[in-house]
Each structure stands twice: as C-alpha cells, then as structure tokens.
Subunit: 206 residues, 2 copies
C-alpha cells in the first residue's frame, strides 16, 4: 500500500467512525452525506468522493460497525479458554458494547435489524449478512462448548445461538430504552439460567 | 357522543390504521403528515386538522398500535385459563402479530424501541410507557402462574417477563430480517424450554 493510499484509508476510517457514532443516535436510515457533512464540518463534495451515494455510505457504516464489533466483542473473547469461558467473554463484552462505550447511541446492529427489515436493497443485504455471520459465530462457539464437554452432548448449538442473541436484544431494550436500573441484573440472571440449562452434568466426585 | 363526533373518531381511527401500516414498513421516524397525505390521498390540511404536528401523529400511532396489540394479542389470551395456558396464548398471538397479519412491516413496538431510544421527547415517552405496561402485564401473568401452582413458588415474575419479551425480540429478528425458515421452530423450542425452567414439579402420582 502506498503512503497516500494508507492516508486515504485512515481518513475514511475516521469519517466512518463519526458516521457510525451519528447513526447510532439518529438511526442509519436518517444518515446522509449531507447530514454527515454538517456533523463533521467536512465538505459534501469531499464526502461524495469517498462514498458516492447515501446507500454506499450506509453500507460502509454497517461494515465498519461489524468490524468494530468483531474487534471489541468477539476477538477479545477468543483469548478466553474454549467453551463456557469464551461464551461468557462474548456476553460481558457485548453488554459493554450495548452500553455505548464505543457508540453513544447503542448497538447499530440491533437497531438496524428492525429499521431495515422491510427495506430491500444493498443496506438490508449487508445487515442480513452481518447478522447471519454473528449467529454462525455464536453457533460455532456453542459447538466448541459441546466438544469441550461443557455443554450437554445433545445440545443444539443453533438453538443456543438464537437464545443467546435474543437475550442481548432484551438487554438492549431494558438498558437503552427503559433505562431500567435492574437491566444488568436481569440479563446476568437470564445468562446464568441459559448456561445452566445447556451445561453438562458435572462428573460426580469419586 | 354526538353522531358527528363518532364519525370524526371513526375517520381518525381509519387514518391511524393507514399510518401504522405505513410506519411498520418505513419506520415511525420517517412518518410525517406530508408522507401520510401522499400515501392516503388525503389532503395535508385535513390531516393537520386531525394531528397538528408530526410528533402528535407519531404519538397517536404508538397509542393506536398499543391498543391494537392489546386487542389482538393480550385480550384473546385472557380468555384462556389463568397460568401457563394464558402465557401460551400470548406467545401464539404475539407470533402472529410479528408475522404481520395486522401490520405489513411487523411490530412497530419492537422497531420503535430501538428507533427512539436516543430521541428524547413525547414519542419516546409514549414508547417507554407502552413497553413498561407490556412488561408489567407479562409480570402479572407470570405472578398468576405462580398463584395457580403452574410456576415454581420461588419464581421471579419480573425475570420471566424479561426473558419472555427477549424471546419475542429474537423471533422478530429471525422472522422479519433473516426470513429464517426455522424461525417458528427456534422460538417454539425456546418457549417450551423457558416454560419448563419455570414450571413447578408435577405432583407425584399416588
């Protein structure tokens, strides 16, 4: 990569960071090159050179958010031991993510899932791909928990992925919309109940 | 109520039905008196006479949807016997509701929960009220299941309400965004697992 390309990529990444931040509050559909120009103080023509269209900007924001989610939620959890500790890692990181340490308006992935479910096009396709990938990653993590003997051998890893994902959507509701002071407690309890229901019986002491 | 008032209310209810239908697809934030005029063929000035402002229109759509949810999901379930049969009724009706029998774009309540979580104002307040009421209804239904001896005596009804609500958000994701052919199967399995985890031990046969 030439120095100028590297610089261009860096600038673009910074713009996408601001765009994601804005979209997390106002919604991805409300995001446009004009609004981004206003929010960042950058020229509309400069932004057009980077993104060409509103749809392209939205698609790239989704890609950027998916990368950040991998970076902040999934990757650190993969340093945890295989099986339940890794699943617990994903859960803890995901809660921090929803609380908006990175995105002030909470999880764009969850918000855009309902925002774009009835809007066919490139942005919807990108969101579907991102959510399918996430469910597949969760399914793999559950499969590893079975291999490690942490989960019961007859557990259904896809079922676990669905129930785990649902729980985080519920947490998003309590934490972001209702600002329920018990949001953490509720989701932690639900998580422990979920894990317990899949967990293999401990071997009896000799 | 005078005849002309009754007629006015009926007209308004018909307009709200169309507005809710539109908002279920395009999102509540995207809903405006201008767009509603275009979609319905009614005059902007006539719609202004009914709603005065975009915010007022949005708030009334939320109220209308909440009433319809009560009418189609909650009320029929209350004809079921107290306890688990009633909870099962809510679950079944709610899935039909999400599949869009009434609203072509799926559940506005779930969609608007993430759409408005970072937008302070009257519409957000209305959504918070609606979601809090729903969680309270679910909590009461769980409390009744304890009273009936269907749920374990030490069950936490608020915890059940949270887990039940989360499951429906997960179903919305699989059904509306991912169009997963297994969406019903996944949510039905999760529901049975959830009920089983709260269910009181059956009395031993004599």
């Amino acid at each position: 990569m030439s120095i100028s390309m590297a610089k261009g990529e860096k600038t673009k990444s910074k713009i996408l960071e601001k765009a994601a931040s804005l979209a997390s509050i106002c919604g991805l559909e409300d995001m446009s090159i004009g609004k981004l120009a206003k929010a960042t103080g950058l020229s509309k023509s400069g932004l057009f050179a980077h993104f060409n269209s509103k749809e392209n900007l939205q698609t790239q924001v989704v890609q950027w958010v998916a990368e950040m989610f991998t970076e902040q939620v999934m990757r650190p959890a993969f340093n945890e031991p295989r099986g339940i500790p890794r699943i617990r890692g994903i859960f803890e990181n995901w809660k921090d993510w929803i609380e908006g340490d990175s995105l002030p308006g909470g999880c764009i992935m969850i918000a855009s899932s309902t925002e774009f479910d009835d809007k066919p096009g490139a942005v919807r396709d990108e969101i579907v791909g991102m959510m399918s990938d996430l469910l597949q990653s969760l399914t793999r993590t559950a499969r590893i928990a079975i291999e490690e003997g942490h989960f019961k051998a007859d557990s259904d890893p896809k079922q676990f992925a669905f129930e785990f994902e649902s729980l985080l959507h519920g947490y998003h509701l309590l934490q972001r919309l209702l600002k329920d002071p018990d949001a953490r407690k509720r989701s932690d309890t639900a998580f422990e109940r979920l894990i317990e229901s899949y967990q293999a019986d401990l071997p009896k002491p000799h």
